[in-house]
């Protein structure tokens, strides 16, 4: 069994990428438990094509490695997911989670500081009261911008299994966290208890047949959420129906194609990510070889299916051996829900235009990422005629995988995490993408 030697410090590997609701901020989490927030610089109005670049805004350590002595288990500090809260005041709030603990962080700016205290001097030392002869009102003076990040809440001890998803409700008061077998509902202000809303743990663990792989709240309806399973099913649940949402309101499942049956059929049907469209009408799911768009009103099959890298279908055994078949790719909608995007191997990522049915394969690499460079579409050749610049399937680098991608909520700006590098691509007027 071949083992890939990591060439990069594993702690730097990006494990999640997320824009906030306005797209002004972009947060990344990594395997070392760190969060880096990028902020988009205001666009310069002088040049028409000068669009804001993203620069580092703040960096902080969100989670540390822990050890559970009772179970003799090490708890990884890797950040599994980051979700921003909708902004309600000058400060920004985000939730970050590792396998067990969710934390609420407040990100605020400080660009003024009070000066002219009566009882303290400039360095903060207490003055001798007898030296104070007159009173002054402290005034706020500008200072260099400082970004402060502080943990506001720690939501711990609620998950026996590994947390794979968090999702903020549209009510902006609650959020849910999902692990392999359970989903819990939290109030953002209350850390000492949560409500279990889904529990698929069988009474006898030997009967376990599926786990929860992802979960998300509906973008508008605060009572609806969806969760995906390792069996390739989606369940839409309505929290108004019962306290425990074990009975789904809708079950989305596509019957398996018997002609494609193999040892690995079950693995490749496992859904690795699910995302509601911005409109709330559709669901986007990613399994190992495809992305699918589901209509909330049609449960028996997806509306659209797109092949991400079907040329891997004949290589599933090798991909099983090197563990690549377990890679969990994410998927993303663009702001208008007309284009969907997902990552693949060899630092390729794919975009599918739902209207024109055109798709494109692009590469996130240093060579293609010089400023102002236009991304060149790539092609994977699975045999047959090979054109110049085509990559053959056998020369794909499976250690370079793009698992995490994010799309700006309104504009054509995408963030691509390629191992320990973050690429941000912006659409120019004359670009091929639209």
């Amino acid at each position: 069994q071949a083992e890939t030697t990591p060439l990069l410090p594993p702690a730097d590997i990006i494990s999640t990428v997320e824009f906030n609701q306005t797209g002004e901020l972009l947060a990344t989490g990594d395997k070392g438990g760190r969060v880096v927030i990028f902020q988009r610089e205001p666009e310069c109005n002088n040049e028409p094509y000068c669009q804001g670049e993203y620069n580092v805004y703040s960096t902080f350590q969100s989670h540390e490695p822990e050890f559970d002595y009772l179970k003799s288990l090490e708890i990884e500090e890797k950040i599994n997911k980051i979700r921003w809260l909708p902004q309600q005041n000058a400060a920004h709030f985000l939730l970050s989670t590792n396998d067990k603990t969710i934390k609420l962080w407040k990100v605020s700016e400080r660009d003024k500081r009070p000066e002219g205290y009566n009882l303290k001097d400039e360095e903060g030392r207490l003055k001798d009261v007898s030296t104070v002869t007159s009173l002054q009102v402290p005034v706020l003076k500008p200072m260099d911008l400082m970004v402060e990040v502080s943990p506001r809440r720690v939501f711990a001890n609620a998950h026996t299994y590994h947390v794979n998803s968090i999702s903020v409700n549209s009510d902006c008061e609650t959020y849910m966290s999902a692990d392999d077998l359970r989903i819990n509902l939290w109030h953002l202000a209350i850390t000492d208890r949560s409500f279990n809303i889904v529990d698929i743990k069988p009474a006898n663990m030997e009967e376990l047949t599926e786990v929860i792989t992802a979960a998300e709240f509906h973008p508008h309806h605060c009572h609806l959420f969806v969760y995906s399973s390792s069996k390739g099913t989606l369940r839409l649940c309505d929290m108004r129906a019962a306290a425990l949402c074990d009975k789904h309101a809708k079950l989305f499942e596509e019957p398996e194609d018997p002609s494609n049956r193999s040892f690995f059929s079950e693995i490749i049907s496992s859904i690795s990510d699910v995302k509601f469209s911005h409109s709330g009408r559709y669901l986007l799911t990613r399994d190992y070889l495809t992305v699918k768009v589901w209509d909330l009103n049609m449960e028996n099959k997806p509306m659209e299916t797109y092949q991400v890298h079907d040329y891997l279908r004949s290589k599933l055994c090798s991909l099983y051996e090197n563990d690549c078949i377990f890679d969990k790719f994410e998927c993303a909608w663009n702001g208008s829900d007309s284009v969907i995007m997902t990552g693949a191997y060899n630092n390729f990522f794919r975009m599918f235009d739902r209207n024109t049915k055109r798709d494109v394969t692009l590469e996130a690499s240093r060579e293609s990422s010089k400023p102002r460079a236009v991304l060149k579409p790539r092609r994977v050749c699975a045999g047959g005629k090979r054109r110049k610049d085509d990559i053959s399937v056998d020369s794909l680098d499976f250690t370079k995988k793009i698992l995490h991608t994010a799309w700006h909520p309104a504009e054509n700006i995408i963030a691509i995490a390629a191992t320990n590098n973050l690429y941000i691509f912006q659409d120019k007027v004359n670009s091929e993408m639209h």
Partner: protein, 304 residues
Amino acid sequence: MNMEYKVEAHRIMSISLGKIYNSRVQRGGIKLHKNLLVSLVLRSARQVYLSDYYGGVCVRSPHAGGVEWGEGDQMDSDGSRSTPDEHGGESALVSDDSVRIPEVSVNGPAAAVEGQDIEDLAPGSDYNCQQSPQEDVGSVKTAVSAKRPDASPSPSLSPGAADAEGENQEGSGSAETGGPGSGSEHCVSRSENSQQGSAEVTATCCTRKRGAERSASAGSPVKRPKATAVPALPPVGGEGEGPEDMDTGNVSSLITIFGSSFSGLLSKEGAQPATDSEDSDSGKICCEQMLPNLNPWSTAIVAF
């Protein structure tokens, strides 16, 4: 053609077993999702491998088969209901969605007590994970107790309630070690043989399991010191048969070990009060003690 599938299935099984074994030492704890998927692949591959086995390609020594059938006759005379046909062979494994690998006796005659079966099988696996090296035996053994109408029913076990269940397990266990006990193990081996060629393994394991139970029953059911993980009992049919028989059913026996190991993983993952650091240790001991008895390629897995 059959040989190709068999070889491929065999290879996939060994890879899967390696993955399950590796997952125990991975940072961050056992990943439930990945282990579930691996166990599904393992089960599919095993199904192909074993169905192919009965497709006519038999490269194993024949004498092992003779042993089981002889023992099987005893079972009939014992009055137990099961016959090989009723178990439905491999289809029992195929139709059941459970990740539990050695679920041999759930269908067929045990259908009448199926609810109890499932409950009984759980204690067996969990119980074994906590104490004995032959984890596969536990599940098979409790399947036996399910089949026997006079076996004391064990309440459904969640690993957290292992205290109480352990006691009940002991109860039914000691009932088994009584007069009809010998019949029970033959019953097991017969049912195993109807589905795979590894029954001889199970027969031997069954004996050792009983021994482990006897030594364990002396103490508390929850706290099983590692010493009890190495019972020394005369196996049915002679010790000499053991290693040779292991040879013939090596992959299947490995699967039963790891299958039960997997349920052990799950109980550990479930973080129930009964699970503790002993789980991983005894599970490891289980593997380390069983595997050296098998042929060399299995030792390669231990080396992982």
